[in-house]
């Protein structure tokens, strides 16, 4: 039975957007922790840690997010866990975000002049104090704009979770489309909602980038 595309359908799609937000938030915060570890490993003195982090980044930036999702999804049963789309999507997107944020933040850490590290060492600050109070606060200023930019990429990336059967914004659109068969309207609505989530962030990232550039050139 094909029914009309009604306000109830729009409501269903809009409320499904919360799962897009939740999944993005999980991946972003998980990715922030993972990314920090990757960035610190990547800029550490240990050759082994640097190699491992570089390898991690290369693997996750050199393979499609869709394959990463499938691998984790089917991999859950390999390690004996129940197959759960939310868990799979959260794990895959967290690993994905860790690699990208790790690479962005490594660049930011390396952008801090080496004199800062030397000065901190001369003051005999421990590694932890050096990072926490000297390097990372300065790196953060460089990192914010590209981090917000990556958040846009991450929100868009969560749409792929629909392919492994997790009902977020895109999957909700597919469900409504299957019932109403109004693909133009349905996917148009879905696109507008993604745009409403992503565009302000893109503008913010661009705004921060121009401000940053002005601050540097001055």
């Amino acid at each position: 039975m094909i029914r009309e595309f009604s306000s109830a359908d729009i409501l269903f799609i809009v409320t499904a957007a919360r799962w897009t937000l939740i999944l993005s938030a999980i991946a972003f915060f998980g990715g922030a922790i993972g990314g920090l570890l990757i960035a610190l490993s990547r800029s550490s003195h240990s050759v082994l840690l640097r190699r491992l982090a570089a390898w991690f980044i290369q693997v996750f930036q050199g393979t499609p997010l869709l394959m990463q999702l499938f691998l984790v999804y089917f991999g859950l049963s390999v390690v004996g866990l129940p197959i759960d789309p939310l868990l799979a999507a959260a794990v895959a997107l967290t690993l994905h975000a860790s690699a990208y944020l790790g690479e962005i933040w490594r660049g930011a850490i390396e952008a801090v002049p080496s004199g800062q590290t030397e000065a901190a060492k001369a003051l005999s600050l421990s590694y932890r104090d050096r990072m926490q109070h000297v390097i990372l606060p300065q790196a953060m200023r460089v990192a914010t704009a590209p981090t917000v930019g990556f958040l846009v990429q991450l929100i868009k990336g969560t749409s792929l979770a629909s392919i492994i059967g997790f009902t977020e914004l895109t999957r909700a659109g597919q469900i409504v489309n299957n019932a109403t068969f109004k693909p133009f309207l349905v996917f148009g609505t879905v696109a507008i909602l993604y745009f409403a989530l992503c565009w302000p962030l893109s503008l913010l990232a661009r705004h921060m980038e121009t401000r940053m550039r002005r601050a540097i050139t001055r």
């Binding site: 499609p64 869709l66 868009k156 792929l160 895109t170």
Partner: protein, 222 residues
């Protein structure tokens, strides 16, 4: 304990390798056509003709702020409702071209803006035609500046193109999905698919690096 079974994958490796070739072909075609779109987009954006600039701005912002998956659904399922229907393969190519065109527009615009105004004025002073100025004074030197962005965009495009498997367009991910439907060796298949994508990405980035060293190190053969 999970029993790994790679046999169905290795027995059908030729199918997957053929899929990899299709992915390379699709990505190349999409990149070439996408670059044409990008050049037009970038020229329109820097042209100073207001309505044209707004149009390109809307195109770029809409594409960059919506997921590729939704774009391909819109093109493959939505457009037929408006009277434009395409086969999965054509829809996949069109979606990729439109997508990479938006990112490419921004890359090429940045390249054009990296050319000092004086250089364009010098071209004019030599009474080159606008087309000659665009080709020799703007695009060629700009290409050197944007080569790294363009090549990483190509690799990103190739990875993104795996999404076209959702509308069953022919590519590596679709070859894997077909094999999965036949053999159910899901994890093994997707592991090998991931490795193949990685090898493609790694191979092309090595190739592009070699090309850059050969042709784009300053001062290149002029």
């Amino acid at each position: 304990m999970y029993q790994f079974n790679f046999q169905p994958v290795f027995e059908n490796l030729d199918l997957l390798l053929h899929g990899a070739w299709l992915t390379v072909k699709l990505s190349f075609m999409a990149m070439c056509l996408g670059l044409i779109v990008s050049v037009f987009g970038a020229v329109a954006k820097t042209s100073g003709i207001r309505p044209l600039r707004w149009l390109v701005d809307i195109y770029v912002e809409v594409i960059r702020n919506t997921p590729f998956l939704v774009q391909i659904f819109f093109i493959f399922f939505g457009l037929p409702a408006a009277g434009i229907s395409m086969s999965p393969n054509v829809a996949a190519l069109v979606a990729l071209v439109i997508n990479v065109g938006a990112y490419g527009t921004e890359i090429i615009r940045a390249g054009i803006e990296s050319i000092p105004r004086g250089q364009i004025e010098a071209g004019r002073a030599l009474s080159l035609s606008p087309v000659q100025i665009l080709r020799y004074v703007i695009l060629k030197p700009a290409l050197r500046n944007i080569y790294p962005s363009l090549t990483s965009q190509f690799i990103y495009l190739m990875l993104t193109s795996s999404v076209v498997s959702v509308i069953s367009a022919n590519d590596l991910a679709s070859a894997g999905a077909d094999l999965n439907a036949k053999t159910f060796a899901s994890f093994e298949i997707y592991l090998v698919l991931t490795i193949l994508y990685f090898l493609l990405a790694f191979g092309f980035s090595t190739l592009f690096g070699a090309i850059r060293r050969a042709f784009f190190t300053y001062p290149a053969g002029r």
